[in-house]
Structures are given as structure tokens and as C-alpha cells.
């Protein structure tokens, strides 16, 4: 393990994470030594790389294509670039074509992906403790559209229908988090391919053969199949149309895991709640416990005794509720509905500095 070439350490540092022990190993798994040398010359054009490394242009082109499809490089306006951040690498490499690159993207790769994520999560939280970096809160919950469809004043970037309508292309992608957790709790019920990328990000994934294009109707139909599943839609936390809509399971999602860690250590959330919370009409609730046993991904549902009814009925902890709407669309007694509790400025402009808490 310690025998890998120091070039991988250099590449890890270029991705802004010199301290992650597993990242060089992950990179060594993804790129052979010749590919790593190419990565280390970036940013550059194909010609410059060929000249610098004394390789045939065809060889460089071939390598770059493979590196692009594995999510390690991007072709921009001025040439080829190394994937800039570890976070981007996680998302792109982890969702690449595992059939075509089966020899690289194997069990060992996903084990390393998981280990690097775990290490990074620890570091993100400890960086906040030591004051090295602010806590970034990049992802926000958007409710199931069926749970909020009749509420006036919906914003386009919190309504899946509006997001999909405005996005071209819509591209379905395997979830890197789910792939990296072979023993995930949701394995039996939740498919691995659940992430939706939109617009330019979607096109990028199509170009590298990682995703599948969906029509608007396909995309909504797919989300219908998630109705019963304990998934939460997460998206970028800005008041712009997002380029990614995740369907996250609280057990295996990287965001939920860092959220849990931040709650334990910092008593802060990383995942930003939606503008809504679920409410319950105890008179309509039949106390079936469905919401508790297989419902709330945040654990906000409990049963309590209602003296005025003389019975036990469900209740929601409004502090914990993340506003995903799952319980609202699944309550068999239709005892629940969503209520808008936060103003539009809950969702920030893209330039508002990250790390700001409520």
C-alpha cells in the first residue's frame, strides 16, 4: 500500500486534499502511471501534453478519453483540466460506467471511495472545530412535489415539475454514495441509479457515457416509483435552477452522513431544510404507526398521547422535520399536510457565502 508512486500524492494535493490518506490510493486505482503523468501536466492541450511527456498524440488522446469517461479530467474552453476538487471526483468517478471500466471501478475502488469519503467527512467537521474552514451547507431538501402541489407561492427551484420542465437535458445517473456502500440498508428496496443531473451537468454525463437521457414525462414517472421509498430529494442550495437532484437515503448518503457527524460534534445541520414542515391532524390520524416504522427519514415522527382524544396518535417534531414531504404523500389516513414555514430568503442567492447558518 505504501508502494504507490509519489505522483498520486501530488495529484491529491492539486485537488485541495493533501491530507487525505486514501485519496492517493484511490487515484492510483483510477489512473495508471502513464495516465497519472498526463494528469500531472494539466491544465494543458493534447499537443502540449504529448510534447512534454514525449508521447504520441494518439496515445495521449486515447488516455484523455478514458480519463474523461472515468471522471478525472474535463475539456474546457482552454484545454484539458484535472478534476478540481475531491467532491467533484467523488461524484463523477463514482457514477462512471462500471461495465466499460470494470477492471478499474471494482469492489476495491468503491471501498477506497467510501474510505476517502469517511476521512473527508471527519476532516470537514474537525476543520470547523479548529476554525480552519467554515461549514459549507451546499445541499437543501426539496419536498416531494405531490405533497406541496396545492400550496400557493411555490418557487420554481423547489418544485420538481418546474425544475424538470426548465432542464435540458435531464440525465439519470448512478448514485456514487449508494455504490460506495455495498452493505447499504436500502439495498433491497432502493435502486442504485437515482441521481438526476440537469442542463450542462447532464450533458457532461451524457458525453462521458455515464448517464441516460430522460424526457420530462420519464423523469416524473421515475420519481413516482420513489413514492413509497424512504428517499429525500436533495439539491444545490441556491435560488437558481439546480443542476442536480439527488434521491438520498439517510443511511448511505454522504450528505446525511456528514450531517449526522456535524449534529453530533457541532450541533449544527449540514443539510438545509426545505421551506416546509409536515403537520398532522390528530383527529384524522388513526395511529397506524406507518410514519414511524417506515416513514420519516429524519426521525421526526413519534407517537404521543392526546388527552383530548383519549388515544395515542402520531406527532411531528417540527424542529427535526426536514420538510421532505414523504409522510404527507404516504399517510393512509390523509392526516398530514405540508405547511410553508420559511420565507423565500431561506434559499440564498448563489453568491451568499456558504457556511451561514439560519
Amino acid at each position: 500500500m505504501s508502494s504507490i508512486d509519489p505522483i498520486y500524492q501530488e495529484l491529491a494535493a492539486k485537488m485541495g486534499k493533501p491530507d487525505l490518506k486514501n485519496l492517493p490510493l484511490l487515484l492510483a486505482k483510477l489512473a495508471d502511471l502513464e495516465e497519472a503523468r498526463i494528469l500531472n501536466t494539466l491544465s494543458a492541450s493534447t499537443e502540449v501534453i504529448a510534447e512534454k511527456l514525449n508521447l504520441a498524440k494518439e496515445t495521449v488522446t486515447k488516455h484523455l478519453k478514458a480519463l474523461f469517461e472515468k471522471g478525472l479530467v474535463f475539456q474546457g474552453k482552454t484545454g484539458w483540466h484535472l478534476t478540481r476538487t475531491w467532491g467533484a471526483l467523488h461524484d463523477s468517478a463514482g457514477s462512471s460506467d462500471v461495465v466499460k471500466y470494470g477492471d478499474v471501478l471494482d469492489e476495491e475502488f468503491f471501498r477506497l471511495l467510501q474510505a476517502t469519503s469517511e476521512e473527508d467527512r471527519e476532516q470537514r467537521v474537525s476543520d470547523v472545530v479548529t476554525g480552519k474552514a467554515p461549514l459549507r451547507r451546499n445541499m437543501r431538501v426539496i419536498p416531494r412535489w405531490k405533497s406541496i402541489k396545492n400550496i400557493p407561492g411555490l418557487l420554481p427551484y423547489e418544485d420538481i415539475r418546474q425544475i424538470f420542465k426548465a432542464s435540458d437535458p435531464i440525465v439519470l445517473l448512478p448514485c456514487a454514495c449508494k455504490r460506495a456502500e455495498p452493505d447499504r440498508e436500502c439495498k433491497g428496496t432502493v435502486p442504485e441509479v437515482t441521481c438526476v443531473t440537469c442542463g450542462r451537468a447532464g450533458q457532461y454525463n451524457l458525453n462521458r457515457g455515464a448517464g441516460k437521457k430522460l424526457t420530462y414525462d420519464d423523469a416524473l414517472a421515475l420519481f413516482d416509483t420513489f413514492d413509497q421509498l424512504q428517499l429525500v430529494h436533495l439539491t444545490g442550495n441556491t435560488n437558481r435552477l439546480p443542476s442536480l437532484v439527488c434521491n438520498c437515503h439517510y443511511d448511505c448518503c454522504g450528505q446525511f452522513q456528514v450531517n449526522k457527524k456535524a449534529q453530533e460534534v457541532l450541533h449544527q445541520d449540514v443539510i438545509v431544510k426545505s421551506r416546509f414542515i409536515a403537520t398532522i391532524d390528530p383527529k384524522k390520524c388513526k395511529g397506524c404507526r406507518l410514519c414511524i416504522e417506515k416513514g420519516c427519514p429524519a426521525g421526526a415522527d413519534t407517537i404521543r398521547y392526546y388527552p383530548e382524544l383519549g388515544e395515542e396518535r402520531a406527532t411531528i417534531d417540527a424542529e427535526i422535520c426536514i420538510g421532505c414531504g414523504l409522510c404527507v404523500i404516504n399517510c393512509p389516513s390523509e392526516a398530514r399536510m405540508m405547511k410553508m414555514v420559511r420565507a423565500p430568503d431561506h434559499i440564498p442567492e448563489p453568491d451568499v457565502k456558504a457556511g451561514e447558518a439560519d
Binding site: 476538487t85 467533484a88 456558504a354
Partner: protein, 306 residues
Amino acid sequence: MGIFHCPVGAAFYDDEDCIDCGMCTAETEEQMVEASKKIRIFLRANAPKPGPIKKVTVCGKGGVGKSSLTTLLARALRAEGYSLLVLDTDESNPGLFRMFGFESGPKPLMTMLSRFASGTPAPGTEWLMGDTINVEDIPSEFILNNDNLKFLMIGKIEDPFQGCACSMADIARDLMRKLTLKEKEIVLVDMEAGVESFGRGVERNVDTVLIIVEPSFESMALAGKIGYMCEGMGIYRVRGVLNKVPSEKIRQRMIEELDRKNIKVIGTVYYDPELSEAGFEGRPPGQSKAAGDVETIVKNLFNEVD
């Protein structure tokens, strides 16, 4: 931060849309602030050109004369041949209808809210649920009508359990967004005092913001704040209107100060006792010097667009 969270929607660094702001690789607070600045400059430079003046909001600190000037603006706009829809969202000041010469207010739009509470739209609220709303679609019970001037009121929350304060702004925002105006139709919104309404996003659907400024430190400071927020929201026709100006010297100083805050002044209303008296008595202001000043402001506004 993964590739998928780019604030300007680029798929990766150096992609077609990338502005090299550095947000994707920012680690420290300073880097993030630096990136934020670049994004803000970019957003400002690439804002779509404002179209014709259709949806105008009048705002400013409490007591600067928003209601009085709204009344005069409406009058001046009607003189220019526009038909007006005045939307009163200022719940702290329920007497605006009197200043327009109406005896009593219309039924507040807020009264509809209880009908939404069930989660399914009740009969009578369909007009608000469609994709667009024409002025004629609004039920007459909510409108006061007088010779090319229609008056609407959002109303205030009477019952604290009716819902959170956002609901009021939600209705106002929905209405403003969906309202489709014909040629020579203008909506004029009298905003509640302060900047809270901006946070609720009512202004997002507005093309023109007039900030009424009086010669006071607080009023000008708030104007700066409003201007900054408008910029972030992509509203680029934000103009200052000086009110209660006692002298030319003060006017110059106000213009200089607002210029420093990046706010262009579109006109001046000099101190006019008639305006104060009318405001005090809650009646429409008479033909006064201030009315003439406002006519000039309206002319300036349209000349600027042409």
C-alpha cells in the same frame, strides 16, 4: 463542493459557462467571500436589460411618504394615459384607500387564505392558481374601481394562528408574478416599510423599484440596503426619489450620498406643506407643487426607458 453545485451552472471548471470565480475550490472563509464578489460582479454585468415599465414598487423607510407619493404617482401616470392597478401590501398602514379617495377598502386578499388551509384549492380561488392572471380575472369583490384606477389590498393577519407571516407575501408574490398586463397598464405596489418584504421575494417579479428617500441618515442607509438587495435579485431599474427636500444644498448632498450607494436619483419632491396636511387628514392631496414634481419624475422615468 462537487461539480454539480456551480453557482452559474457550469458543469466543471473552464466549461463554457465557467467564470473562474473560484467557488468550487474555495476552502477558507476568505476564499469564499472573494469568490462571492466575483459572482456578484458577474451577475450584475450579465443582467438582462430591463424591459418596459410594467410592475413598479414604491418602498422606503417608514414615514418617508410612500403612500402620499404613491397617490401622486398614480395620478401622474393616469394623466399620461395609463390605467393603474394599485396593490397595497403595507399592513401597518391600512388607510391608503382613503388617500385614493375611496370611502372604504376592498375585501382584503388575505381573506382567501383560510380557503387554502385544507390543502386543496377551494371554489373561488381558481383565478389565483392558473399560470397567468389578467386584471379582469380578479373577482370584483377584491377590487375598488374608479376611472382607470383599480385598488387591491393584501390585508393583514387578524388571527395569529392563521399561518406564518409569509403567507401574505406569498399571495402578493404569486399575484405579481402571474399578472399579465396589457399595453398602457401598470401595477403600482405600495410596499410595507423596511426591507423585510424583500426577503420574502415580492420584488422579484417587479421591473422597477422606486426608493423614497427623505433627508435622514436612516432613510438613506436603508435605501443603500434596498439597492443592494435589488441588485442581488436582478432588478436593475432601481431609482431613488428624494422627498421632503428643504433646500437645493440638501438635495445635492443627498444625490452625492446615494451615488456612493450606487443609486441613481430620478427626481426630487421638495417639501410641501399640502402633502403633509393631506397625509395628516388621510385625504387625497390636492393640486400642489409636489404633484408637479411627481409629474416630472414620471416623465423622467419614461424618457429614460426610451
